[in-house]
């Protein structure tokens, strides 16, 4: 290989390292988004439960 192989290797290594780091960043953001979504779901479930408890109970079918 030529005298400038070090530069070539450095350029291609940096490209793939940066791409890998960006994929990792996207993956971490997705994990944070999933956690936030679970919190929202829990809050929504609590709210539904709260409003259901405030209402008179519905008659059961067939009763």
């Amino acid at each position: 290989m030529g005298a400038h192989f070090g530069y070539l290797f450095a350029a291609y290594s940096i490209i793939f390292i940066v791409i890998f780091l960006y994929v990792m960043l996207i993956w971490r953001r997705q994990a944070a988004l999933d956690a936030e979504l679970r919190t929202l779901e829990a809050r929504m479930a609590a709210l539904t439960e709260h409003s259901a408890a405030g209402r008179p109970s519905e008659p059961r079918s067939g009763a």
Partner: protein, 237 residues
């Protein structure tokens, strides 16, 4: 853009084409007679520039539509495109600098194309700093749209700078004499495969980030509704 099948297909196609283009760069294409092995950086440097410019063009288009329609979707698309464009623009500058050292004997020179690319990088850096530091309000989105549109005006200047001003940056694809600088057909094929690989990578990144930003926007809206409903439910009156 929310289809996971398309996202997965894009991811695997990108990986496969990246491997093919790497094989072509290191085993198939002949190195340039003048620049030697360092010229092989070109086959990833040019596609990186293409996807960076395409990203910034998309930021401008999304910005125009956001200012016109006021739909959050366009703001999310512009933000996603600016971020991916910034990643690729950074790589263009870094790989260009590494290529410059053995050929020009310096890591950096204030050449017209390099300077205009650096200005482009700074402007989109400013855009991303604004978006990261401020809350997601319509006003910030409007500022972002305007910055994105103004900054994209630098893209055509970067492209024509090698013909407009005296520069040491080579005009490889279309030379100053109007011919293309890739004499060997293998060079053209390698460049085309790399261009396709990076276009797919760009589309994949864009899709992932856009989907995340859309989800975040919808979740912010839902959180507001839940907070309102909670306040109403806890009000004794």
């Amino acid at each position: 853009m929310n289809n996971p099948t398309i996202r997965n297909w894009l991811g695997f196609s990108t990986l496969a084409l990246m491997l093919v283009s790497l094989f072509m760069v290191f085993d198939y294409v002949p190195p340039d007679a003048e620049m030697g092995i360092a010229q092989l950086i070109f086959y990833f440097h040019v596609p990186l520039a293409w996807v960076a410019f395409a990203s910034f063009g998309l930021v401008a288009i999304a910005g125009i539509f956001y200012l016109w329609l006021g739909d959050q979707l366009w703001d999310d698309l512009g933000y996603a495109a600016a971020e991916t464009g910034m990643v690729f623009c950074t790589l263009v500058i870094v790989t260009g600098s590494i290529w410059a050292k053995p050929i020009w004997g310096t890591w950096w020179t204030w050449d017209s194309r390099l300077t205009m690319t650096f200005i482009l990088w700074l402007m989109y850096g400013g855009y991303l700093m604004l978006r990261a530091s401020a809350d997601d309000t319509p006003q910030v989105a409007r500022f972002g749209a305007v910055i994105g549109i103004v900054a994209a005006m630098d893209v055509p200047i970067v492209i024509v700078s090698v013909r407009m001003w005296r520069t040491i940056h080579p005009a490889v694809l279309v030379t100053k004499q109007g011919t293309h600088g890739l004499e060997d057909p293998r060079m053209v094929w390698t460049l085309l495969v790399s261009l396709t690989a990076f276009t797919l990578l760009w589309a994949w990144f864009l899709m992932l980030r856009f989907t995340q930003l859309r989800t975040r926007s919808r979740m912010a809206w839902l959180a507001g509704r839940i907070a309102l409903a909670t306040a109403v439910a806890s009000d004794p009156k």
